[in-house]
């Protein structure tokens, strides 16, 4: 019997402290985790198709979170996306959810909220 490979959660955020902190916590939950500094770096990596859930920052230099979401749709990569944003603007959050995001987490968020969101993405 093969040991099931842990589900890969990818983190795309231009903020370094998020890239450092979040994967460690996700691993504590038993997920595999990879972090990318930009949407372009994620798209160029070998992990796109393996990713089960994408924790995606909204505002980034270059390609933004929603831009990446659109690009993945265009590539027919159906990866569940949880947006993470420091801007708590309600209208922006509503728009993101309307465009197919599973959840939107407003930084700073608790580990409960994170688990809940990732859980929702995987089911």
């Amino acid at each position: 019997m093969t040991i099931p490979k842990p589900l890969l959660v990818s983190v795309v955020d231009d903020d370094e402290s998020i890239r450092e902190a979040l994967p460690d916590l996700l691993r504590q939950f038993g997920f595999a985790a990879e972090a990318f500094a930009s949407a372009e770096a994620f798209l160029a990596s070998e992990f796109v198709s393996e990713t089960s859930c994408l924790l995606l920052d909204v505002a980034m230099p270059g390609m933004s979170g929603p831009d990446l979401q659109q690009e993945l749709t265009r590539r027919r990569q159906k990866i569940p996306i949880v947006f993470i944003t420091a801007y708590g603007d309600a209208s922006v959050l509503r728009r993101l959810l309307a465009r197919g995001a599973v959840r939107c987490l407003v930084k700073p968020f608790s580990e409960t909220a994170l688990l809940d969101a990732v859980g929702a993405a995987l089911t």
């Binding site: 402290s17 998020i18 460690d24 504590q28 993470i84």
Partner: protein, 632 residues
């Protein structure tokens, strides 16, 4: 009868009394002979029968008579032939005893011969004495004078202007041809001439009009030149008559043309002015204060919508002025009436159809020589500009509000983002740390690492907060010498229109001299502006009393300058006075608290103090005082 010579041939010849009277041939005779011979003029003595009785030496020299001629009849002497009627003349002289004269030409010489009776010791006339005076040179000079006179006459007669010389009794001495052909009537000038002639002085030219036969009316200018000769005691005057008829006519024509042009120019400039007034919606007026007589230009009638030509009175004007603005206008006019000072005023009109006009008046006070006051000025209809100004002001304040709100929200969002990133890191790291410690076995290295990251993120968050604080507090602070009087005047000028519209009477009490302070002029003006606006706002709802606003500057013992802004507004609750100046405390929706708190911090940066006091009467007083500049 021959008389024997008694002297030498060169001396007196044949001196014997005529008719055989014996002369004493003694010493007296010798003296006489010497005297006669010394006389330059020839002297010849004739007997009663016209024979030569004797002659002196000059006769020999001048007329060539010789001793042989003594005793000869004078008619036989060829040199005396020119004296054609000598014998009859001598007879007459002897008969009458009165001497006679006759001219005598000898070649190119001229003599005047005096024929005197010769009387002997018994006063009996026994002959004649002929004395020859040589007048050749005299006659030549007379001829010269006559010739010169003729030349002068010719010149004067050629002059077209009349010339005449008058004596003191106004008799005509001489005139040129033009004068005599003019028939000038001097009678009209008698009085003037009299005064002038008696004084012997020149008089100013006199202009006279006179009608001349055949020439019509002529205009003449008379000039008088006194003629004075040191050897001639009688004063005379030369009158010259300058005919200026043609010139005067030309001048009159020019004057008429000039007047016509001026009138035309005046009409044109009046038309320009009227057009300018119409275009600029500006009318002009004059107001005689003593009589309240008011004159209006056409444009003012149009602005006030009164029938042109209607007599304008202060009462009539009062019927158009907006009731709310009437007291202030009256106050301004009364002040003008008292002081005579120039003034500017803005007020509204309420037209019969209910529409509102905004007028701006500028008036300049002048006094005539009797000290009577009159104002001349202009009134401009500024309704259009005022309405757009109001619209602009409203739009501006709305925009400012929007800008403030949006700036605040942008700022907040930016601060939130900057702070939330590290906060997010802290929470995530702390969660991870807890999980690592709770694992079995605990991942102590991992926990330490995540805890370190949490600390790092915490520091990052605190750096963000520090950055935001510097962003808000770091402002350029200029230090210059500031004249608070000047600064206050500028603020007052800036707000004057606004205050008038709010029906606030502004009073400035600024001393002649005020020490300067050191600081940021603009920031201090913002404080004054803020205090004045607050004061004006505090009176916005006051209807039962005048809305008075006083700005006063004063020197506090030479080391501080105090600025006071006093209003008659709603006032402040003494309990709120301190709180009033705290940031974010406000009694109004517009956020007066923020303004006051900023004002206080500005004043404190100037090492000064800002405070508020309730008035004894209605309203409140806000004051600040700051130290004067240190003298270098």
């Amino acid at each position: 009868m021959a008389a024997p010579p008694v002297a030498s041939a060169s001396g007196w010849i044949g001196f014997r009394a005529p008719n055989g009277d014996d002369a004493d041939a003694g010493a007296a005779s010798t003296d006489l002979s010497n005297i006669l011979d010394a006389v330059e003029a020839p002297i010849v003595v004739l007997q009663r029968d016209f024979t030569i009785a004797g002659f002196n030496k000059a006769t020999t020299d001048e007329l060539g008579l010789s001793p042989a001629d003594v005793g000869r009849p004078s008619r036989d002497i060829s040199r005396l032939a020119g004296l054609t009627s000598l014998e009859s003349q001598c007879s007459e002289v002897m008969a009458s005893g009165v001497e006679a004269r006759t001219d005598f030409r000898d070649g190119d010489r001229w003599f005047v011969v005096r024929i005197s009776p010769y009387a002997n010791a018994e006063s009996r006339v026994s002959g004649t004495v002929l004395t020859f005076a040589n007048v050749t040179a005299f006659r030549a000079s007379i001829d010269q004078v006559i010739y010169e006179r003729e030349c002068t006459k010719a010149i004067l007669n050629a002059v077209p202007d009349p010339l005449v010389v008058l004596s003191a009794d106004q008799r005509i001495h001489a005139g040129n041809r033009a004068f005599y052909s003019m028939f000038f009537e001097l009678a009209s000038l008698r009085t003037r001439l009299k005064g002038m002639l008696s004084g012997g002085r020149a008089f100013d030219p006199v202009e006279v009009d006179q009608v001349f036969p055949g020439e019509g009316r002529r205009r003449l200018i008379l000039h008088a030149h006194p003629l004075a000769s040191p050897n001639h005691p009688e004063p005379r005057v030369l009158l010259t008559f300058e005919d200026v008829t043609a010139r005067k006519q030309a001048e009159a024509a020019n004057d008429l043309r000039a007047i016509a042009e001026r009138k035309d120019g005046l009409r044109r400039s009046e038309a320009f002015l009227a057009e300018a007034q119409r275009l600029s919606l500006t009318g002009s007026f004059s107001w005689r204060v003593s009589t309240d007589e008011i004159t209006w230009s056409d444009e003012l009638y149009r602005i006030f919508e009164f029938d042109p030509g209607m007599p304008v009175t202060l009462e009539l004007i009062g019927t158009r002025v907006h009731p709310e603005d009437l007291p202030l206008l009256r106050a301004a006019l009364e002040r003008a009436r008292d002081t005579g000072a120039d003034f500017e005023h803005e007020h509204r009109l309420q037209m019969p159809d209910g529409s509102i006009k905004y007028l701006r008046m500028v008036a300049h006070g002048i006094r005539d020589e009797d000290g009577r006051l009159e104002y001349v000025g202009a009134i401009q209809d500024v309704t259009g500009p005022r309405l757009s100004e109001q619209a602009l002001g409203k739009a501006q304040s709305e925009l400012a509000h929007v800008a403030r709100v949006s700036a605040l929200s942008t700022l907040t969002a930016s601060i939130a983002h900057e702070v939330n990133q590290p906060l997010s890191g802290i929470i995530t790291n702390a969660s991870t740390c807890l999980r690592m410690l709770a694992a079995d076995p605990p991942d102590l290295d991992g926990a330490r690492e995540t805890a370190r990251r949490a600390i790092r993120d915490g520091n990052r968050a605190s750096e963000v907060i520090a950055r935001v604080r510097t962003l808000f507090t770091k402002k350029e602070f200029a230090t210059e010498s500031v004249d608070l009087n000047g600064a206050t005047r500028e603020v007052a000028a800036l707000l004057l229109g606004e205050l008038q519209r709010n029906r606030v009477v502004l009073q400035l009490e600024l001393p002649q001299s005020l020490p300067s302070v050191t600081g940021d002029r603009i920031q201090l003006q913002q404080v004054i502006l803020n205090l004045v606006r607050n004061a004006s706002d505090a009176m916005a709802t006051v209807e039962d009393r005048p809305r008075r606003l006083l700005i006063r500057t004063e020197d506090e013992d030479g080391d501080r300058v105090r600025v006071t802004v006093r209003d008659t507004g709603v006032g402040v609750d003494p309990q709120n006075l301190t709180k009033l100046l705290d940031a974010f405390y406000t009694t109004k929706s517009e956020g007066m608290g923020i303004g006051l708190s900023v004002s206080r911090s500005i004043i404190e940066r100037h090492h000064g103090r800002l405070w508020a006091e309730p008035n004894d009467g209605p309203g409140a007083t806000f004051s600040f005082s700051i130290p004067v500049s240190q003298r270098a």
